[in-house]
Amino acid sequence: MKSGKRGFWLVTTALLSVSLLFGCTGGKGTPADTGDPEPGKDGETAKKIITVTFRDDGIGENGAFYKWLKELSASYPDKSVEIKPTPIQASEGDYFAKVALALKSKDTAPDIVTEDTFILNSDASAGYLEPLDDKLAAWEDWGNGSFIEAMKKGVTASDGKVYGVPYNTDSRGLWYNKDIFKQAGLPEDWQPKNWEEVLSAARTIKEKAPDVVPIWMNMGKATGEATSMQTYEMLLYGTGERLYDNAGGKWITKSQGILDALTFVETVNKEKLGPPLSKVLNGQAGNTASREYLPQGKLAISLDGSWITGNYMESGAAPWPEYKDVLGFAPMPTSQGQDPGSITLAGGWALSIPSNSKNKDEAWEFIQYALNKDNTQKLVMSSGNITVRADVAKDPEYTKMPFNEIATEYLQNAEFRPAQEKYPEVSTQIQTMVESVATGTSPADAMNKYAQDVTRIVGADHIVEK
C-alpha cells in the first residue's frame, strides 16, 4: 500500500517534470509574428500589424529600405494598419536560407517578404508564396504599362503565375576608368563592338599602364552568384546561347557558347589581363574591385553591375564624388557583335506575400501603395538601384542621377536567369566551372565536369547538348 502510494507520487512528479520541460520549449509566437489585432495605445482602435521582412546587411535603421518602410508606415493612409519592419540580419546567401525557414511555418511567416528574383521561383515551387495574378488583374498600374514589360518575366515562375511585384532591378556592363583610358591612348567614350575589342583594350592597358589591372571579372566560387551572373552569364548570353532551353524544357550542358565563354575567361587569365588569383578568388573580390581598385585608379575595366555607384555616394562604403566624371559605363558587347549588339542580365527584388501570411488582403493593399510611382522612385533613388517602372524611368529627377538613364536603357535587351527551381544549385556548378578555368583547367574539361554535375542535379532527362 505504502509503496503503491509512493509510486503514484513518483509518476506525478515525473509527469510534471516532463510537462515543465515541454512547457519551456513550446513557446509560441515571438512578438514579431503576431498578426492578430492588438489594442491601440489608447485602447480605442484595434490595429492590424503587417510585418515586412527584408535583408539588413548590417546597416540597421540607417539602411535605405528600412528608412523607406518607416516613411511609408507614417504616410500610409489606412490608419487601422501598422506597418512593422522585421529585418533579417544576414549575409546575402544566409538570407535566402533564413527566409525559407521562416516561410515554412504559420508562426514565423511575415505578411510581406522581399524576394530576390533568382530564388523567387524556387520559393514559389515550394509553395511558400501566394500567386498574385487575380489581385494584379485588378490593379490599374500593372496593366496600363507603368511597369516595364520585360520586368514581369523576372517575377513569373515556371508555372506561369506571378508571385511578386518587382521594385528594383539592375543591369550589367563594363565600367571603365576614363583617366586610365586617356593615359593608354584609348577613347574616353568607349563602345566596344565585340569581345575582341574588349580584350584588345585590356592588352593595350597592360602594355601602356603596367601597374594597372586591365580587366576584373568575378571568377571565384567565393563570390557566388556574382560569378555566375556578372561574369559567366553575361558572356554566355552574349554568344547567343542560353543556360536553359525553354522550348524543350532542358538545361544546356554542352555547347559552343559555353566553350566560347570559358575561353574568354581563360584568355584573360593566360595573358594576365586580370587581377592576381589570390585577390579574385576570395569572397571580398567584388568589394576589392569596386571599393578599392576602381576608385584608386588601380583598375581599368570592371565587368559589374549598375549598383556599384551606390558605394560612391556620400553615405556609401567608399565615397568618391568624382566618380561621375571618371567612370564610364559601356554596354557589354555580344561575342562577334551579332544582334542585338549588346547584352545585359537583369535581376532585382520583388515584394511577395507568403502563403502562410495571416493578413493577405491588408498586405496586398500595402504593396499597391508602397510600389506606386512616387514611392518606388524614392526607394530606387536612395538605394542607387534602377527602376522597374517606365514612368519613373522618364522622371527628370531620376534620369539626372548619373548613369541611371543609361543603365535603364540597357534593360531593353535584358535577359533573366532561368525561372527554374534548380537554378540556384546549377549556379554553384557554374561557379565551380568558372573558377576551375581561371585556375588552369581547359575549357573543354571544365565543361565536361559541369555537364556531369548538372546531369546529377537535374536528371539525365532534363539535359541537352548543342
Binding site: S3, V18, L21, D123, N282, T428
Partner: protein, 296 residues
C-alpha cells in the same frame, strides 16, 4: 527492527522504483538526443530541401543520397581534406606540440610554467570565430606575417591562396594545443618521482627514462587525448569557414564545410544530413580504433 529491514531490502530491490527517478533524464535524452539522431537518420533517406518543389512534399528516396555521395568527386576531396586536416592539426600538431610543451614545463619553476601556460591558453580561451579572424589578419595578403617578411626584405606570399591547408592547420594548432597541454601536464605530474629517481640511480639515460617509463605510464592518457582531440577537430567549421571558406577551389573543403554548402547554399538538407552521417561514421570508426588500441 533490524531483522525486518534485512527482509524488506531484497524485496524492494526487485521493484523498479529507480526507473521513476530516472524518467525525467530519460525523457530529456529521448527528446533532445535520441529523437534528433533518429530524425537525421530518417531525413538522410529523403529529398528534404529548404526550397523548391522538394520542400513542398517530403519524399522517401531510399539510398539516392548515399549513391550520390559516392559518385560525387567533391566528397572524396572533402574526406581527404578532413583527414589531412585531422592528422596535421590534431594528431601531429596539437597532440605532439601539447605533449612537448607539457614535458618542457615539467618540474620547472612556477613563474616559467605560468608564463608559458598563459600564452598557450590564450589560443584556447579565444572563441573559434575570433581566432579565425585573428589568424586571417595574420596570414592575409596585407597581414602581419607579410609585414614581417617584407621587413626582412623577402617578397610577400599569398599564404591563404598558396598554402591554404597549412594555414588552417596552423590556426587550429594555435587554437587547440592548450587542451592537450593541460591533459598531459596532469598526466606527467602523476608519474611518480621515485620511479624516475630509481632509474637515474640505475644509470638509465634520459631517453631511456622517457621511452621506458614516462611513455608507458601515460599511454592511456595519450589515447584518450587523441580521441578527444580527434573528435573536436572533426567538427571544426567556423575556423575554416571564416579563414578560407573552403577555398580556393576545394582545397580546404572539409566534410563539415561541404555539408554546410549542400544544406544551406544548395538548400539540399537531405543530402546534407547524409553527409553528416558520414562524418558521424568516421568519428565512430576512429573512436573504436582508439578504444581498441587503449585495451591492448
Amino acid at each position: 527492527m533490524s531483522s525486518l529491514s534485512v527482509d524488506v531490502y531484497p524485496k524492494r530491490r526487485k521493484t523498479y522504483t529507480w526507473l521513476f527517478f530516472l524518467l525525467p533524464s530519460i525523457a530529456i535524452m529521448l527528446v533532445f538526443f535520441i529523437y534528433p539522431i533518429l530524425l537525421t537518420f530518417f531525413y538522410s533517406f529523403t529529398n528534404l530541401a529548404l526550397t523548391g518543389e522538394a520542400a513542398r512534399e517530403l519524399k522517401f528516396i531510399g539510398l539516392d543520397n548515399y549513391a550520390r555521395m559516392f559518385q560525387d568527386p567533391t566528397v572524396r576531396i572533402s574526406i581527404w581534406n578532413t583527414l589531412v586536416f585531422l592528422i596535421g592539426s590534431a594528431v601531429i600538431g596539437q597532440q605532439v606540440l601539447g605533449f612537448l610543451i607539457a614535458l618542457l614545463m615539467k618540474q620547472r619553476n612556477k613563474t616559467f610554467r605560468r608564463v608559458i601556460g598563459t600564452i598557450v591558453l590564450a589560443g584556447w580561451v579565444t572563441p573559434e570565430i575570433v581566432c579565425a579572424l585573428c589568424l586571417y589578419s595574420f596570414f592575409g595578403d596585407e597581414g602581419t606575417l607579410n609585414a614581417i617578411i617584407t621587413f626582412f626584405g623577402f617578397s610577400e606570399v599569398t599564404w591563404l591562396f598558396t598554402v591554404p591547408m597549412l594555414t588552417i592547420i596552423l590556426a587550429n594548432i594555435w587554437h587547440g594545443t592548450a587542451f592537450s597541454m593541460l591533459v598531459f601536464q596532469a598526466a606527467l605530474d602523476d608519474v611518480p618521482n621515485e620511479i624516475e629517481e630509481a632509474a637515474v640511480v640505475d644509470g638509465a639515460s634520459k631517453w631511456k627514462i622517457f621511452t621506458r617509463i614516462i611513455i608507458p605510464y601515460i599511454k592511456s592518457t595519450i589515447t584518450t587525448n587523441m580521441m578527444l582531440v580527434t573528435l573536436q577537430t572533426l567538427g571544426v567549421f567556423g575556423l575554416i569557414y571564416a579563414m578560407t571558406g573552403g577555398g580556393p577551389g576545394n582545397s580546404t573543403t572539409t566534410l563539415p564545410i561541404f555539408m554546410y554548402n549542400q544544406a544551406f547554399v544548395n538548400y539540399q538538407l537531405g543530402y546534407g544530413t547524409a553527409i553528416s552521417l558520414l562524418l558521424l561514421l568516421i568519428g565512430i570508426v576512429l573512436s573504436l580504433l582508439y578504444i581498441r588500441s587503449m585495451k591492448e
